[in-house]
Symmetry: D2
Subunit: 324 residues, 4 copies
């Protein structure tokens, strides 16, 4: 389903070129202060307009459709909506016959028997991450004393991210990147053994972000190349602090009170200006496809705030489950 | 919760040194043939006794506690139980004061206020993976025409896996490894946009396997270093076949009919014979810890069949949801 | 949570005197025809304006916020919204100090620490049933060949319903009633033993309708006064038809192919024009309360279409689970 | 699914004539004292052997399969199992051809394509209520200060229950009854508006008890015959106490701090010694059926403790959700 969480529970809806995109949050504690202006910092980080990102810019004003009264959450379902305004749907008409490589055009069409809204990716669009970022703002409010910091640590294989993006733009191509997220202030004891491990839940949320293709916690893939003696994090005080943090703050599926650290692989933007060779289902032949529309050279640039939002949504749920 | 799935739904229970370990499966279609002997091939792959694995060997005979009649599943909840027999609980008494680095001893104690069964890791033990492998056998039966192959492709940073394990045993140390899993025969259209993406669900299941610290689909972390032109998989026929498979068989969260391919980072076994320095909560000092008991030098050796089981559990659920 | 269902899954949000009320439906099969006009017959049945119902009348025009494209459902989450227009919130200001008997004013205030939107009942309002009726319209579309008929069979203890309502209006009082619902065309085999019995799910949904205080299936409470010989429904053909239907179409929690029949007790409208004696939390004394605002003399009059909607929502989910 | 609850979550499994019947409880707080002997009082109330109940008597010794250590719950899944011993499966062989009226023989066979375990009702059997009663014992432990009292207030339409049962036994017939349950000590604020109303959840649980065909809260069906002036419960103090309790302790789906009171209609036992006329699917004709085996003249006699158990399971979940 298009829902996530047990107590702090989010439901997503909307399309890229329809009325708009929104999110409903169940389980937000009543009395959480809630003003439109609180959303602007994170919405601004998500928004396009910087180098290497699409020139389509939406105002991203959150509308509280329910659950807010006198500038506080009421405890009832909280629905936040973002109207679409700046859409140019004509750009997408040719994609029905020739699905874009790397996009959900083909899988969406088969899954939904051709009834999917294909304009701008429809429900699959990154436009939907407006709602995710908004839910993240709410989740961060719920998690007093917890901080989230996600940043792009590499793009196109380089740490000179600026240069890598300039090159991609010049090449009419796109690049991926690696995002690292650190969560501070989480108590010991969140998560469950097995299916609701903290890693299971965080990864579940992270792979819901379009373009994420990998995740690793702590030492991650490097752990596979370490010995037990190297990788084990010794405990050095009675609060459970460890001298190293190769576990990334989670042991046995349960948070151990140290920083939670994970990294995500973000694939290069699928929409590129360069012509591509791919199947045309109308002609039945592999043909050249030229993608029109406005796109990011590196979606990873705008993703950190979405990563933080997903992390906050997941942690808010775990905290409320444990009453911490 | 300790459950996973919407239609084919599994519930895990048990402990390492208690009565045994088990699993209940809701939603197994009635009429699925079910004999004890069907479980032996996969149970055998999971079992200890090979080089580098613990000398504790259990017979692993599945007992059908419910849901099987006349050698077929009935459609009612199917409970499979594995009795413990070969336990030496005395080995673990000292771990209450001094939690083992890399284990859930400390996180489990805090989470459960000291009431957790600490013997052999209790409910956190890899002993519980008997039930997971058994559920995997059932899931594979449900998925006719779908194949799962997981294998260890690297251990201790080397592809000469045999030599790497010999060295770890000689060093009284342990090593991690990388497992690659390929799923063939999955139709187009499984998974949902956002939270129930095929990647979200598979990663959720995989991080429930003890020792998994990373997952990547298709090109994975390498995708972060590719350009869009390189990474996009062009479609070359009307069944959606792509000429490359950098996406690992999943686009927009939905399976695209190509092989699903993912890799897992497995950390080195946490229990090692080498002495370690870590907190003793009784004395309040960091002291030497020597772990007794019987352990694997490389848990990744026994993990492939568990990975296949988790993949099959996840795919059985998605297939039954879509009625494919 | 404010959700219901496993495959056809509904999420409710909104308030009586806020922006509006809405519903999101996950799992609606793609390609279901969807026009605003399709909703008018059932919305009209729900709407006020008839004798004994409140003079507050809303236009109840459904807005498709997501999930509809080219007049068909897309398969993505389907959100339908009803804007509020005809609100007079000033009427409710005095209810904060003196909660109305029979209403959720007091329980809502304690549950939400005083942050609930108290205007017109806020999220507890029957205004929210617009979304339920809309989801019912969608569910009925999904259930081709199944019919739902709910009707008021008794009001104020009388079958002369018209006269009973006239009297209640004249008395500045209100009355309850009994609604009977019959579902035809359901196949054998829906529902589960124990917690997801067809009766469990239907009753779960029905008690979500404001003012429902009882439910009985088939012979219901009368069954408690029958013998087994009288109550058992003999099967008389190879389709499972029974000569009597005291079971109300459900045996062992599973539908048996006969008509599903149940009755609901609807309490009298809580808001009445007559003065009532109840606690004033500001003065700390029991005092007279006079309720202003516009209210129904008999909410049971407008409830049948809501009952049908809830029945259709429940049955659509069960049908999609069983792929019937 | 065969699960219920969000935090305190139960999963049922087993069969009447298989290995046994069991229940797994997720979310039981760690440190809850847990001895076999604690279960005997409620298990004894459920057990057969009294007048009008089947002479099949099982010892009903709970076996803790997981989740208990040093006589306390650990916080891990708690599985309790009841082995079957006193079974006479031969009694049921003829029911495959000729399903018993009032039983799930026919619906179960169609639902499970003939693979269901038909012996003694298989998974549909009241034998499964052992696990429910056991979970109720655990739930009552979790709910300190809350009391549950369910009693049979009417059988066969009479309050002279003893005489009514004597008559049914003499007639080789069976009778139904009405059970009233009162829950004391519940705080204000449990339950949600709409689908997770306290009434929705309690009724969901109650209809999972075999033979329940109706439920009413407070005045219930009588409320449909009252006026608003009569039915509204005025609040008389600052704790929310009401002078009457026609609402049965729940207003707007939320508990109001007064006693929760509900009544259940229990149908007469379906298995009766009298011959019945019903379809024989082998011969294709309606024929006489004589039911062998051992059965209760009035299942309602043994049901009160099951009703209490279901109420406690539901309330434990709601309390843990609200952290009360």
């Amino acid at each position: 389903m298009n829902s996530f969480g047990r107590i702090f529970r989010v439901h997503i809806f909307g399309e890229s070129h329809g009325v708009g995109a929104g999110i409903t949050i169940d389980g937000c504690p009543p009395g959480t202060p809630m003003n439109e202006a609180d959303f602007e910092p994170d919405m601004g980080r998500r928004r396009a307009g910087k180098k290497g990102t699409t020139p389509r810019v939406e105002a991203d004003l959150p509308e509280f459709m329910s659950g807010v009264f006198n500038n506080c959450s009421t405890g009832a379902p909280l629905t936040i909506f973002f109207k679409n305004s700046n859409t140019r749907s004509g750009d997408y008409a040719n994609l029905v016959a020739q699905p874009r490589p790397g996009h959900a055009d083909y899988t969406g069409r088969i899954k939904y028997n051709g009834f999917n809204d294909y304009r701008g990716g429809g429900h699959f669009s990154a436009r939907l991450t407006t709602g995710i970022v908004a839910a993240g703002v709410v989740a961060k409010k719920v998690l007093e004393g917890v901080t989230f910091e996600a940043k792009l640590i590499e793009a196109g294989g380089s740490t000179d991210i600026d240069a890598a993006i300039d090159k991609a733009v010049a090449d009419h191509n796109s690049i991926g990147g690696i995002i690292e997220c650190t969560i501070k202030g989480i108590p010991v004891g969140l998560g469950e053994p097995f299916w609701d491990s903290a890693e299971s839940l965080l990864s579940h949320a992270m792979f819901a972000i379009p373009a994420v293709k990998g995740i690793e916690f702590g030492a991650g893939f490097q752990a596979a190349r370490m010995t037990g003696m190297e990788h084990n994090d010794p405990i050095i005080d009675d609060k459970g602090t460890t001298s190293t943090n190769y576990a990334g703050g989670i042991v046995g599926g349960i948070t151990n009170g140290n920083d939670i650290v994970f990294r995500l692989a973000i694939k290069p933007t699928s929409s590129i200006a360069k012509p591509q060779q791919t199947m045309n289902f109308e002609t039945g032949k592999v043909e050249e496809l030229v993608i029109k529309g406005r796109h990011d050279a590196c979606v990873a640039l705008r993703a950190p705030v979405i990563v933080e939002a997903m992390a906050a949504i997941t942690m808010a749920d775990l905290m409320l489950i444990e009453n911490k």
